[in-house]
C-alpha cells in the first residue's frame, strides 16, 4: 500500500474509534466530568479550604493538574483496552486482519483513538476546573507535550492489556488493582515532601508520580521531581511499550489461532 492508502486506513481506524466513544458519551465523557467535579467540590473546596497551602499554592490549585492528568491516564487506557478487547471479543478484529493494513498502522490508529478520548476528557475536566480556580499555565510546551506523551504511554498500556485479556474481568484487573492505586499514590493529592524519607524513595519508583509532577510543573511551575528525567523516562516507556505491542500484533497474540 502506498502512503496515501496507508493514511486512509489509519484515518479510518481513528474516525471509527472517535465515533465509538462519542456515540457512547454517557459512558465515556460524562462520568469523568461528574467524578472530577465532585473531587473539586469535596477535596478542593470543602476539605481543601481547611488543609491550607500545598507546595506554595492553595490546595485547589495544587490538585487541579493532578486531577486533569488522572483523567487523561484513566481514559486513554480505558478507551483502548475496552475498544480493542471488544473488537477481539466480537471478532470484528477480523475486518482489519483480512485487510492489507500493516500492524503498525493498526497500533497507531488505536493509540491515537485512545489519546483522543484521554485529551477530550482532559479538556472537559480543565474546563470544569475553571469554575473552581484560576488556572495559569507556567510552561505551555511542557504542559502540552507531557499530556500527549502520557496519554500515549497509557493508550499503549491499554492495548497490551487488551491483547492478553480473555474475559471482561481481565480488562478491569489492571485498572482497578494497578492503575488506580499508582495514580492515587502518584502525587495527585499531595506533595511527596510530606512523606517520610523511606516512602518518598518508594514513591519515586512510581512512574505516574513523574507524569503528574511534570504536568504540575507545566501549569504551576513546581515539581517534586526532575522534569528532564521524567521526559526521558516517559519516552523510554513509549519505545518499549510500542515495540512490545507491535511484536504481539506480529505474532498474532490473542487475535490469530
Amino acid at each position: 500500500m502506498n502512503s496515501q492508502l496507508l493514511l486512509t486506513a489509519f484515518w479510518t481506524i481513528v474516525v471509527k474509534e472517535v465515533r465509538r466513544f462519542t456515540r457512547i458519551w454517557a459512558q465515556t465523557l460524562l462520568p469523568p466530568a461528574i467524578t472530577m467535579t465532585l473531587y473539586f467540590i469535596i477535596f478542593g473546596n470543602l476539605i481543601g479550604s481547611r488543609i491550607g497551602d500545598m507546595g506554595g499554592f492553595d490546595y485547589m490549585e495544587y490538585i487541579v493538574p493532578g486531577l486533569i492528568m488522572m483523567s487523561v491516564i484513566t481514559n486513554s487506557y480505558g478507551n483502548v483496552v475496552s475498544s480493542f478487547f471488544g473488537t477481539k471479543f466480537q471478532h470484528n478484529i477480523e475486518e482489519l486482519l483480512v485487510a492489507p493494513v500493516p500492524n503498525w498502522v493498526i497500533l497507531a490508529g488505536y493509540v491515537i483513538g485512545g489519546m483522543a478520548r484521554g485529551l477530550a476528557v482532559g479538556l472537559i475536566v480543565t474546563a470544569l476546573s475553571l469554575f473552581f480556580t484560576n488556572l495559569q499555565i507556567h510552561h505551555l510546551g511542557v504542559t502540552v507535550s507531557i499530556v500527549l506523551l502520557t496519554s500515549t504511554v497509557f493508550a499503549l498500556g491499554g492495548f497490551i492489556n487488551a491483547v492478553f485479556a480473555n474475559t471482561f474481568d481481565d480488562i478491569s484487573i489492571i485498572p482497578t488493582f494497578v492503575l488506580t492505586p499508582l495514580t492515587y499514590l502518584g502525587g495527585v493529592f499531595y506533595s511527596i515532601e510530606l512523606l517520610p524519607d523511606f516512602w518518598q524513595g518508594v514513591s519515586q519508583l512510581n512512574p505516574i508520580l513523574y507524569m503528574v509532577n511534570t504536568f504540575r510543573y507545566g501549569i504551576l511551575g513546581v515539581s517534586d521531581i526532575n522534569v528532564g528525567f521524567a521526559f526521558a523516562m516517559i519516552i523510554g516507556f513509549i519505545v518499549v511499550l510500542a515495540g512490545f505491542s507491535l511484536h504481539l500484533l506480529n505474532i498474532g497474540k490473542g487475535i490469530r489461532s
Binding site: 500500500m1 502506498n2 496515501q4 492508502l5 496507508l6 486512509t8 486506513a9 484515518w11 479510518t12 481506524i13 474516525v15 471509527k16 465515533r19 456515540r23 473488537t87 466480537q90 471478532h91 470484528n92 477480523e94 475486518e95 482489519l96 486482519l97 483480512v98 485487510a99 492489507p100 493494513v101 500493516p102 498474532g252 490469530r256 489461532s257
Partner: protein, 305 residues
C-alpha cells in the same frame, strides 16, 4: 490460465496439538466457482482462515494470484474478499458505516467508499436498511451485509464460508443468482457449504476435505459421473399390498402407494414404467430420493473413516 489460489502441502497444528491440516495441496483457477466441502471439523475453515490471514499456518505455501502470503501478504490481501461463517461485524454500528469503514481499511477514500457501499447495498437489497444498526437485521440480512462488506474493494477472489447457513430458500436462491452474476463478471469464488445442492448447482470444480486431507479434487461433472446408482421415489395412483418384482431392479415399499427403486446408470428408467404398467399400476409422480452430490459425499466420507 492464471491460478487464483495455489496451496502446497499446507499443514496446521493448533496449540492444543490438534492436527487440523495434514499437508493439503489445492489449485483454484482464475474465474472458477470452486466448492470446498467436508464434514464439520474437517479443516475447511482452517484452510480458508490461513488463506485470509486469520489463522497462522504451521507449514506449507499459499499463493493468492501468485502472491506468496509469506512474502507478499499485502498484495495477496488486496485480491481477497472474505465472508466468514460467523457474524463478525460490530453489531452496534450502522450498516452503511460497516461497509464504508471496511473500504477505508483498503485505502479507499470516503467518497468512493460511499459510492461502492451504496452500489453493493442496493445490489443486495440492504439500501433501505443503511441507517439501521447491524444487530437489528435479520439473519439473512446479516449474511448479505457480510457479502457487501467483502465486495466493497472489488476483490478478484471471494471466499464464502457457509454464506447461506440459516437463510430461507427464497433468499438463498436470490443469493445464488447474485453469486453467479459476480462470478460471470470475473470474480473467482471459493465456497464452503453444508447445502450440497448449493455446491452442485453453483460450482464447476470441487474438493472434498476430511480429517485434514483432500480426499477428492476434480470437476463437479466428473465427480457426479462416478455415481453409479441413484434411488428414485415413485408415487403410485393405486394402493399396493406387497413389494412388486421388477426385473433387474431393487425395490422397496415405503408406504401403500410409494416405492423406492434403486436404478443403475446403465439400465435407465423405461423398464420400470413398462413393468409397473403391465402390473396395472400407474406412476403419478417421480423424484430423485437424494441430492446426487450428497450421495457421493456420504460415500466418500464414509470410505475415509
Amino acid at each position: 490460465m492464471t491460478l487464483a489460489l495455489s496451496i502446497d502441502n499446507l499443514r496446521k497444528t493448533y496449540d492444543n496439538g490438534f492436527e487440523a491440516l495434514k499437508g493439503i495441496s489445492l489449485e483454484v483457477k482464475e474465474g472458477d466457482f470452486f466448492a470446498l466441502l467436508g464434514p464439520n471439523g474437517a479443516g475447511k475453515s482452517t484452510t480458508l482462515g490461513i488463506v485470509s490471514s486469520l489463522v497462522n499456518k504451521s507449514d506449507g505455501k499459499v499463493r493468492v494470484f501468485g502472491h506468496d502470503i509469506d512474502t507478499h501478504l499485502t498484495s495477496a490481501k488486496l485480491c481477497l474478499g472474505v465472508v466468514p461463517q460467523e457474524f463478525n461485524f460490530n453489531p452496534f454500528e450502522k450498516v452503511f458505516d460497516i461497509v464504508v469503514t471496511q473500504a477505508g481499511y483498503y485505502g479507499i477514500g470516503r467518497k468512493r467508499a460511499s459510492e461502492r457501499a451504496e452500489f453493493y447495498l442496493r445490489k443486495l437489497g440492504l439500501w433501505e436498511k443503511r441507517d439501521v444498526r447491524a444487530r437489528m437485521l435479520s439473519g439473512g440480512m446479516k449474511r448479505r451485509l457480510m457479502i457487501a462488506r467483502a465486495l466493497v474493494h472489488d476483490p478478484k477472489m471471494l471466499i464464502l464460508d457457509e454464506p447461506t447457513a440459516g437463510v430461507d430458500i427464497e433468499l438463498r436462491r436470490s443469493m445464488w443468482e447474485f453469486l453467479r452474476e459476480i462470478n460471470a463478471a470475473g470474480t473467482t469464488i471459493i465456497l464452503t457449504t453444508h447445502y450440497l445442492e448449493e455446491a452442485e448447482s453453483l460450482c464447476r470444480n470441487i474438493a472434498i476435505i476430511d480429517h485434514g486431507r483432500i480426499i477428492q479434487n476434480s470437476t463437479m461433472k466428473s465427480l457426479l459421473a462416478k455415481l453409479n446408482m441413484e434411488t428414485f421415489v415413485l408415487d403410485l395412483e393405486q394402493d399396493i399390498d406387497s413389494v412388486p418384482e421388477l426385473d433387474g431392479y431393487s425395490v422397496r415399499l415405503t408406504d401403500p402407494h410409494t416405492l423406492e427403486v434403486d436404478v443403475e446408470k446403465s439400465k435407465g428408467l423405461n423398464p420400470i414404467f413398462s413393468q409397473l404398467s403391465a402390473m396395472g399400476y400407474t406412476v403419478a409422480s417421480m423424484r430423485n430420493k437424494a441430492n446426487r452430490l450428497e450421495e457421493l459425499f456420504v460415500s466418500l466420507v464414509d470410505k475415509n473413516l
